[in-house]
């Protein structure tokens, strides 16, 4: 009986993770169709975006599978940190430059990056609070059992 409930729970988590992954990939697919013309000028753009999407989706699926455990929060923090560090790294600290046929282009993403970092920090703060809440609930439940 217990085994059946556990299996159902795992199947539900896997389904939820799959649906989330598919939705995220579809969003990427739609958004990519808008920015794909830029790939003509920035050859590495597709690789940068695809690497980002793959790692993000993997962390998201792992986070879903680990939901209900403390590892979910570790993975959520890892996801938020990954977004921040990956964007800082790939956008060269916020000022992205490119040389193309004697033309030097630059795009200053520092303001966007600042918003991304703030949102990521907010995500980390939220995850921390959730982790504290999870641990306190668990401790409370353990105390009640004793």
């Amino acid at each position: 009986m217990v085994d059946k409930a556990v299996v159902r729970k795992i199947v539900f988590k896997a389904l939820k993770a799959t649906v989330k992954g598919i939705l995220f990939y579809m969003a990427y697919f739609v958004l990519w169709s808008f920015i794909s013309p830029l790939a003509e000028f920035i050859p590495s753009l597709q690789q940068i975006v695809e690497t980002f999407v793959i790692i993000y989706v993997v962390l998201m699926i792992l986070g879903e599978l680990a939901s209900g455990t403390i590892y979910q929060y570790f993975l959520n923090v890892a996801k938020a940190l990954f977004v921040t560090l990956y964007l800082i790294l790939e956008l060269k600290g916020g000022v992205f430059s490119l040389t193309f046929n004697n033309l030097n282009f630059f795009v200053d993403f520092r303001m966007v990056l600042a918003v991304v970092v703030l949102l990521s920090l907010l995500g980390i703060a939220k995850t921390m609070l959730q982790a504290v809440n999870y641990l306190s609930e668990k401790a409370e439940y353990g105390a009640k059992l004793n």
Binding site: F34, N102, N104, F105, D108, V112, L119, G123, L129
Partner: protein, 253 residues
């Protein structure tokens, strides 16, 4: 609640970035033919018409174009700047980028620009704020050909004949080609010095040389017989509405 808010902001940020990037393809810049003219202060005015059509989703802020004309040493000869604070959605804006070149300034760097064709470096920077938020820019360096207004200037060997009992009539051919992108007109003043560097005679001719046209003429001087020597030097002064230059020393004999 925080989760919903952050998700909303992430979606908003992603949508904004993607739509701003997508808008770039609906932003058109057309540069017209550069035009040259003279200002009231007799400076050369280089004018580049720019047509900007913003059919994107967002306004463009702080459009800025700066050009610098550099000599072969990298020194700035002339600078021009154009600034448009805002280009709204669907706006079709026509402006012109102007750069004033003072020939005197150019000649201070080198008189080579007067007599020899060469190249000038142009440093161009154009920048703007996409969606009034994301600064983008492009810079490049170009070489533009410079045509000398007195290309291959030659003051030929003087010939002389007796004019009267006291003076000789000295004649010397003058030729050059105006390779510049503007017409020149003015005077060439010639001073003749003998082998002891004593001024023996002077004269001037008026000339008109349209762009890319050759000029051939001659100058006549009346020199006292007693001070004439078979060798010496000329000093040439160029007096035009665009610039003055001199002396250019040319030996004869």
């Amino acid at each position: 609640m925080i989760g919903i808010a952050t998700t909303f902001f992430w979606i908003f940020l992603a949508a904004f970035l993607v739509s701003a990037a997508y808008s770039v393809k609906d932003l058109h810049f057309d540069f017209g033919e550069p035009q040259m003219s003279m200002t009231s202060e007799n400076k050369l005015l280089l004018s580049l018409p720019i047509n900007i059509i913003n059919e994107g989703y967002y306004a463009i802020g702080a459009f800025n174009m700066t050009t610098q004309l550099l000599d072969f040493n990298g020194s700035v000869i002339a600078k021009g700047s154009t600034f448009v604070p805002n280009i709204g959605r669907g706006e079709n804006l026509t402006t012109s980028h102007n750069m004033t070149i003072e020939m005197g300034e150019l000649l201070q760097h080198s008189n080579n620009y007067l007599f020899n064709d060469s190249e000038l470096e142009v440093s161009v920077f154009a920048g703007m704020r996409l969606a009034e938020l994301v600064p983008v820019g492009v810079s490049t360096n170009l070489s533009i050909p410079w045509g000398a207004p007195f290309y291959n200037f030659t003051l030929g060997e003087p010939s002389h004949e007796r004019f009267n009992r006291t003076h000789l009539q000295v004649t010397a051919p003058i030729s050059f080609e105006n390779h510049a992108f503007f017409d020149i007109a003015g005077n060439i003043q010639i001073k003749m010095y003998n082998s002891s560097s004593i001024l023996t005679g002077e004269s001037q001719i008026s000339f008109e040389a349209p762009q890319h046209a050759p000029y051939n003429g001659y100058i006549e001087l009346f020199v006292p017989i007693t001070s004439f020597t078979p060798d010496g030097h000329f000093e040439a002064y160029f007096l035009t509405s665009v610039f003055n230059y001199g002396p250019m020393v040319i030996s004869y004999g």
